[in-house]
Amino acid sequence: MKTNRIFLAVAFLLASCQEEVLLDLDQKKDRIPVIEGYWTDHGIYNEVKISLSKNYYDSLDQEFVRDAEVFVKERSTGRKITFSYLNATRSYRPNSGERAKVGETYQLNVNWKGQVYQAEGLMLEAPSVDSVTYDYLEKRLFREEGYYLKVYGKIPFEDNNYYRIRVIENDTLKNQPEDYLLFDDSFGLLVFEKGLELGYAFQKNDRVRLELYRLNKDAFDYLSQLVSLLFNDGGLFSPPPQNPESNIRVVKGDSQVLGYFIVSPVLTRSVTLPTK
């Protein structure tokens, strides 16, 4: 991805241009359900959103599926936690105040128009976050001038080290492709103890909320592939574009399904930056 940009930087310097074009694209007639399921240890995050795919150029709002049967099954007991559609959130919410328990495996079930979709996830133990600090830093290579946050904590686990940090700046989720913060233990986890610097320049007075998720590998892979796809510019240095591999299976019916099911603990921290 970066190489592609470097190549284009070279090419731009030499003579390249960009413009918007209208391509005649073949469009899929059937609309594919997109399922986004979160099952966490915080009730506020627990929801299942089901929407439908659309034509590429279609700029209308998302179309939501309101009439699906949705439940999460606790694998050890076989108990069903049922969900109902809530107009206010445009998602399915659990009917009870139950939350995910560490060590338990949960199975998401969605039945819609004769199609049955399933996904599973193991609720993992959360790491610990000790503190979040900030510093005002001058402009550096790859970094603008501004306040930078560092997260200090401990990750004592040997396996299943797949993490995501979501950053909410003044009630707005940072959700540009370059805003994704996903990390695993490929480069060790000492960085978390020494202070993981978030690569965003914040401004004075900003209220920043951080959400740390510990994901199952399949959900982490889904998000990694999603980010790769968002960065895929269709050029020679990008791999052929592919849909991220969903961890949701079609167990009955012949339709496709898109999206993911995330079972994860969530740790949140909030910081308000100084006025100067």
């Binding site: 391509l23 968002l230 050029g235 020679l236 591999e245 898109l258």
Partner: protein, 795 residues
């Protein structure tokens, strides 16, 4: 056993010919350019009145011509040179006869564009081979005025490019890493600069390039698709001289001359870009402080040790550097060296010994106390090759030899800066040994029928030290942890493969100007790049065949019709081929391999096939020269796990491909060149819809790969050259004015399917208020109407 038996029979067959040959006599000679004592390759040699039964000179200008009766007049002719006639007596057979041919005066009627015989393409055994002389190459219009070896080859039938402005080659449906690019016999692992916009090598330092599109003699091997055999120039032996050029983005200088008298020579050639200087002109300080340059440096020294022995030493070094703000740097470098010893044992026996070493390194460095790192990697190949050649009187030539190769792929090593808390990542190194034995014979069965038969046997071994992970009851995949690993000591055999590679070619001469040819070739390839992008990157991961990665096998069947017209002024060839590939690899979705020791978990393997027809009409003589090439071809891959296991076209599958190349000499001072290229657009995947997930609008793709096409690609390039027509001047200068993409066609480099804010492709949502948000398509295109100017000189 079958192989050993076949080899034994083959050698007996050869020995039989040798015994027979003892009774025949021939005259042994060498043909040289009188001006610079360089050997003339492919000169015609025949007895007076027997032009149809002659021979041609080899790479060193040597020939052997069978004697019928003496004394007799021997005639030597070479296009663009004055004919030489000499009477040969019996006593002349005892020593090597030297012939010095003089260049004809410059003539507008006969412009030499290739150093080869007029009827070469009809009479030789070559199918799927193209030769480009440096004269031809340097006469073509070029991007930024930079004469480019590999990009010029893209103008030949059967050769595709990855895309606009890239020098990568895809030959007859093969991938870019299935081409062996070698210079003076030594492989070059990354033959590109600036991410493939330019290819390596300063053209002034080169002698010629041969492209073998799959059919190659048994003495070559190791790659599944093609051989690009580049030869460095030797220096002149009679005088010092120089040449060079000052171009739009780079300058070149070549110096040459005798080294230790007339029996040795040197040539040194360099090229350096100065793109950095343009960066300084930018008003943006972020751009001003960047570095962007490459250089090429090559040298060759040649020594005639005796009348029978010649030794040459050559070396090439080329490097790229891209630096940002003095803190971040990406650099890569090829360093290739070769030594060649050629010996003429007797009037019918030659021996060639070659040693080489090729090393490729790259480095990515971020100079920062807390977040910095230094990531390096290198790979090398060292080889020795020996070839014995015998010219037999029974109208046959045999050769046999051995070729040993040692691969060393060093660990990829990412070292964090002292205060950077990330863990150092280091892959394990990989070593491989490849031994090849080969034998071949060219046998003229009659005046019309000639066959070339060859066998190459390769034995490959991956050797320790190294570690192989075990995945019981399952194929390696990233969701399964290995159950165990096996460690191999240094030199210990880890995995072995072997393969017999037959090479068969026939030529049937229907008429002196009309021939039919057919060939079958098998090749095994034991190294390849694990990548799924279409263009090569400097940090690409090369992998060796091992326990989980099998060698690629390639079989190619080809057939051709070759016809010359109007006393060899026009050449026509039509060739067809079918190629079958096994064990080609691709990557899983989201594969991460650059710093992984378990590359096997990220790879998928399968088969490929390609077929096509190539048409080439070429004019080599006259004021106007050039060629028209057209290719119809298809390329396919079928790899389980990709495109729902269905066959799909790789991106470079471009069924129709046409190129027209014209050069015209208006006067001794003015000449022009023109190229037109057209090809079907690249095979790509366009979205079939979109959806929203994780607060992102994401393009939806089909499960089937590359079902869509870019628009057709076409463009015209043109150039005009003026050179001082006064031949008496010591300093000869010339100006070249060129335009790339003359009519400014916007050929897409890429289509980016993304969200557009405020109907502006450059608007960033964090810049301010949002008025509109919608999906769009942004096309990037490169190089529309790009003029260039180059001043070339000789002294």
């Amino acid at each position: 056993m079958f192989f050993l038996r076949s080899l034994t029979i083959f050698f007996f067959f050869l020995i039989g010919f040798q015994v027979f040959s003892q009774e025949k006599k021939s005259v042994n000679g060498q043909v040289l350019d009188a001006a610079n004592l360089q050997p003339l390759i492919g000169a015609s040699v025949f007895w007076e009145g027997q032009a149809q039964q002659g021979t041609t000179t080899d790479l060193e200008g040597n020939f052997f011509l069978q004697v019928t009766a003496l004394p007799a007049k021997i005639i030597l002719s070479y296009l663009g040179y004055e004919k030489s006639i000499r009477t040969i007596q019996v006593k002349d057979l005892e020593k090597v006869q030297k012939f010095y041919l003089r260049s004809e005066d410059f003539s507008l009627e006969e412009i030499l564009i290739e150093e080869r015989r007029g009827d070469e393409q009809v009479k030789n055994m070559e199918l799927g081979k193209s030769t480009l002389s440096m004269e031809t190459l340097q006469s073509l219009p070029a991007l930024f005025g930079e004469v480019d070896l590999l990009r010029s080859l893209q103008l030949l039938p059967g050769v595709k490019s990855a895309g606009e402005g890239t020098a990568g080659l895809f030959v007859r449906g093969g991938s870019a890493d299935q081409n062996l690019v070698q210079v003076d016999g030594a492989p070059v692992y990354n033959p590109s600069h600036f991410f493939g916009i330019f290819s390596v090598f300063n053209p002034d330092g080169l002698k010629k390039v041969d492209l073998y599109k799959g059919n190659m003699p048994a003495s070559f091997g190791g790659r599944a698709s093609a051989l690009i055999d580049v030869a460095f120039r030797e220096g002149e032996r009679d005088r010092f001289s120089g040449e060079g050029g000052i171009g739009t983005i780079s300058s070149r200088l070549t110096l040459q001359g005798p080294l230790l008298g007339e029996k040795s020579s040197f040539l040194i050639s360099g090229r350096r870009t100065y793109a950095d200087l343009f960066l300084k002109l930018s008003p943006n300080p972020d751009i001003q402080n960047n570095q962007l340059n490459f250089y090429d440096l090559n040298g060759k020294a040649a020594f005639n040790l005796s009348d029978k022995d010649k030794l040459s030493v050559s070396s090439y070094q080329g490097s790229d550097l891209l630096g940002l703000d003095g803190q971040f740097a990406l650099g890569w470098e090829n360093w290739v060296s070769a030594i060649n010893w050629n010996r003429v044992n007797s009037d019918s026996s030659y021996f060639d010994l070659q040693g080489y070493h090729s090393r490729y390194t790259y480095q990515v460095k971020f100079d920062n106390e807390e977040n910095g790192f230094d990531w390096t990697n290198s790979l090398s190949e060292t080889g020795v090759k020996a070839i014995w050649t015998r010219v037999l009187a029974s109208k046959s030539t045999v050769f046999w030899g051995i070729h040993g190769q040692v691969y060393h792929f060093a660990p990829s090593d990412l070292k964090p800066a002292p205060k950077n808390p990330i863990t150092r990542r280091q892959t394990q190194g990989v070593q491989g040994l490849l031994g090849n034995a080969f034998v071949g014979i060219t046998q003229e069965f009659s005046d019309k029928l000639t066959a070339e038969l060859g066998l190459r046997q390769g034995v490959f071994a991956q050797v320790g030290e190294g570690k192989v992970y075990q995945y019981p009851n399952t194929a390696p995949n990233p969701d399964v942890d290995p159950s165990d690993s096996v460690f191999y000591e240094k030199g210990e055999l880890m995995q072995r493969y072997q393969g017999l590679e037959p090479r068969i070619a026939f030529r049937y001469l229907l008429r002196p100007d009309f021939s039919l040819k057919a060939a079958y070739n098998r090749n095994y390839q034991y190294v390849q790049i694990a990548s799924n992008s279409s263009a090569g990157l400097p940090i690409d991961r090369w992998v060796l065949a091992g326990q989980y990665i099998r060698p690629i096998r390639s079989d190619q069947f080809s057939f051709g019709v070759f016809r010359n017209f109007d006393q060899n002024r026009w050449e026509l060839s039509i060739e067809g081929y079918y190629k079958d590939l096994d064990q080609v690899i691709d990557l899983r979705n989201g594969a991460r391999i650059l710093l992984s020791d378990q590359v096997e978990t990220e790879l998928l393997s399968g088969r490929g096939w390609a077929y096509g027809a190539e048409f080439l009409l070429r004019k080599n003589k006259g004021k106007t020269t050039g060629w028209l090439g057209y290719t119809w071809s298809r390329a396919w891959r079928q790899i389980d796990g990709i495109s729902k296991d269905h066959p799909y076209n790789p991106r470079f599958d471009r069924p129709h491909d046409l190129s027209l190349v014209l050069n015209h000499q208006f006067s001794p001072a003015w000449s022009s060149s023109f190229t037109f290229v057209y090809s079907t657009g690249q095979a790509v995947s366009f979205p079939i819809g979109s959806y929203q997930v994780d607060n992102q609008t994401v393009p939806l793709y089909s499960d089937f790969r590359n079902e869509n096409r870019f628009p057709d690609y076409h463009r015209i390039d043109a150039a005009v050259t003026w050179k001082n027509p006064d031949p008496g001047r010591k300093w000869k200068g010339s100006w070249n004015f060129g335009v790339y993409n003359l009519y400014g066609r916007k050929n897409p480099f890429s289509y980016d399917f993304r969200i557009l804010y405020n109907n502006d492709i450059n608007y960033n949502p964090s810049d301010g208020d949002l008025v509109s948000v919608r999906p769009g398509v942004v096309m990037t295109y490169l190089f529309t109407f790009l003029p260039s100017i180059t001043y070339n000189f000789e002294f």
